[in-house]
């Protein structure tokens, strides 16, 4: 079976030789090509090349098209990203510097015509042509209720979200939701078939369940209205969200859930059961200081909790660059070994 078929089997509960094994190495590509991060992210061809090389070397099932989260801010007017050669790029220029800027914020009529989109398009084109028939292609889209955090900073967004003025907040959310709808559609059109829907404000770790139900959920429904939830993964930026799993099924029909390493994986599997796909996620920050043996033991623990009755995928968060390569190899090898189903 191809990795794409193994993923489909895990989602539907069909027989398969093993569970799907995903590995996310979005920031490792620059090191793979021995170039500075800024140069690496400047061309989709570089990102595709590095991701394909790492896919071949480690042998996991998925491939990433994500450049960096700040790419969305660039599509909305951000002019400066702070690149780091040892970690994740940061948004260094907030598009919304004061509340008056919200009225001025314009969502491009077609984001795929924006210069910042071209590296993403080029990357997806190569990935689709090289491995699209056999491997899931992952992409990343930020939910409307979280996108403002990279446009104005998390503290200013939290303040506006909680304290208003609420008409201004809702104007921003409407624009962000329009952007999210466009982005999801564009990523699908260009070949991504696993969309990580990043929604930290959809986690009770960020806001209360009442706020999720009353404020966040209606906007998430709007984000997904045009294209539906096919291929979407509910992801709260590594924050736990077991308490809203049922709500996400009922309100959004998202069937794949990226469970935080801080959450109870057994409880999540019980809640999701055979309705969808549970993604068991290793704490890859601890992997910085673990040995390969400790990494293997943790993979075994997670997989043994999750793989009974199928409907389970093993993965990681956003692998820090400081994690030793031996630990990444140990993680992938252990996931294949303990994830056997037949």
């Amino acid at each position: 079976m191809t990795p794409l078929e193994i993923l489909t089997a895990a989602m539907t509960g069909s027989p398969a030789p093993r569970i799907p094994v995903f590995c996310n190495l979005p920031d490792h590509g620059a090191r793979e090509l021995a170039m500075p991060a800024k140069q690496y992210f400047s061309k989709g061809e570089y990102v595709a090349d590095a991701q394909l090389r790492m896919l071949r070397r480690y042998g996991y099932d998925n491939i990433w098209s994500l450049h960096y989260v700040g790419k969305e801010a660039e599509l909305l007017g951000c002019r400066e990203i702070l690149f780091a050669d040892d970690g994740v790029p940061n948004v260094a220029d907030f598009v919304i510097k004061n509340l008056d800027d919200i009225a001025k914020l314009e969502i491009p009529a077609d984001i795929t015509q924006h210069p910042a989109w071209q590296p993403v398009a080029n990357c997806l084109k190569i990935l689709r042509s090289e491995v699209g028939a056999t491997h899931p292609i992952c992409a990343y889209a930020t939910a409307s209720t979280t996108l403002p955090a990279i446009l104005m900073g998390m503290d200013k967004w939290m303040e506006l979200f909680l304290l208003g003025p609420f008409d201004v907040r809702d104007e921003l959310l409407r624009k962000c939701s329009d952007f999210c709808q466009q982005e999801i559609a564009a990523l699908r059109t260009w070949g991504a078939n696993v969309l990580i829907y990043s929604t930290p404000f959809g986690s009770p770790y960020f806001v209360s369940r009442k706020q999720i139900e009353q404020i966040v959920m209606p906007w998430m429904r709007r984000d997904l209205l045009p294209g539906g939830s096919e291929g979407l993964v509910y992801y709260c930026g590594m924050a736990p969200f077991n308490d809203v799993i049922d709500l996400v099924f009922d309100e959004l029909d998202i069937k794949t859930h990226h469970i935080s390493p801080l959450a109870d994986i057994a409880e999540a599997k019980r809640l999701i059961n055979t309705r969808g796909l549970t993604c068991g996620v290793i704490d890859d920050i601890k992997m910085i200081h673990w040995s390969p043996e400790q990494t293997r033991a943790e993979v075994q623990r997670i997989v043994e909790i999750g793989k009974t009755d199928g409907h389970f995928l093993f993965g990681n968060g956003i692998m820090p660059l400081a994690v030793p390569e031996a630990n990444i190899q140990a993680m992938v090898a252990a996931a294949f070994e303990y994830g056997r189903l037949q």
């Binding site: 702070l82 780091a84 040892d86 970690g87 994740v88 940061n90 948004v91 260094a92 900073g153 998390m154 503290d155 939290m158 303040e159 979200f161 909680l162 304290l163 009770p204 770790y205 960020f206 806001v207 209360s208 706020q211 590594m238 390493p261 801080l262 704490d283 920050i285 601890k286 910085i288 200081h289 820090p320 660059l321 400081a322």
Partner: protein, 221 residues
């Protein structure tokens, strides 16, 4: 004496309802309590109670932490203007986001709580070098440096907490200035603070204020 007010105030904070919390403060003022009473008998006990509640309930959410700090800092600032004489401060902390890190929510929560607990806060903003942390702590006679890092590489970099620790050691300041860290990576690896040379860490902004006050008391009994 102000137990009923504290309960109503914290209920409002827990529901992230700032107007309701301010109503409680205004009611206490109109019932004859002084601005000093409001800060020392209402806001500070309320923040301390919130710290205890959050310690017992790790599921308290970020919005609640944010509002705890935001409301307490706002009320304290307004009341301080009305104090008959300036209050005695517990100590001073220099706070900022680590070099390369542009996230400011965490340190804003910590700063808000600290201000309400009568701690002087020198906020250096984001993307702060290790040298700037230590130089400022020396010139400001701070007892604590607090470094916030929301990303793994800014938490573990030699230019972040490890750099601050190296400078404190090099300048012989380790007994006078303590180092606290916080931010998402530390929640995922609770032993990470030791690896980056810090004296203490906290899993959230409200608890961080308590940890920092404890460190100040270690240095300045």
């Amino acid at each position: 004496m102000l137990d009923a007010y504290i309960q109503s105030y914290n209920q409002a904070v827990f529901e992230t309802d700032k107007p309701a919390a301010l109503d409680v403060v205004n009611q206490a003022l109109s019932d004859g309590f002084s601005p000093e009473d409001i800060v020392f008998k209402l806001v500070i006990p309320a923040v301390e109670l919130m710290m205890t509640l959050i310690e017992k309930d790790p599921d308290a959410n970020l919005a609640q932490h944010f509002m705890t700090a935001q409301i307490a800092a706002d009320v304290t600032e307004k009341m301080l203007e009305k104090f008959s004489k300036p209050p005695e401060m517990i100590g001073r902390v220099v706070i900022g986001a680590a070099y390369g890190d542009l996230h400011s929510l965490g340190k804003r929560i910590v700063s808000g709580c600290l201000k309400s607990l009568m701690v002087d806060v020198v906020d250096l903003g984001t993307n702060v070098s290790a040298e700037k942390f230590v130089d400022t702590a020396m010139t400001e006679n701070a007892q604590v440096i607090a470094v916030s890092a929301m990303m793994v590489h800014t938490a573990t970099s030699e230019k972040g907490s490890l750099g601050v620790r190296a400078l404190l050691q090099e300048r012989g300041l380790e007994q006078q200035i303590k180092l606290a860290v916080g931010g998402a990576p530390y929640r995922f690896d609770p032993e990470l603070y030791i690896k980056v040379g810090a004296d203490a860490w906290a899993p959230d902004g409200v608890t961080a204020a308590k940890v920092i006050v404890d460190l100040i008391r270690e240095v300045k009994p």
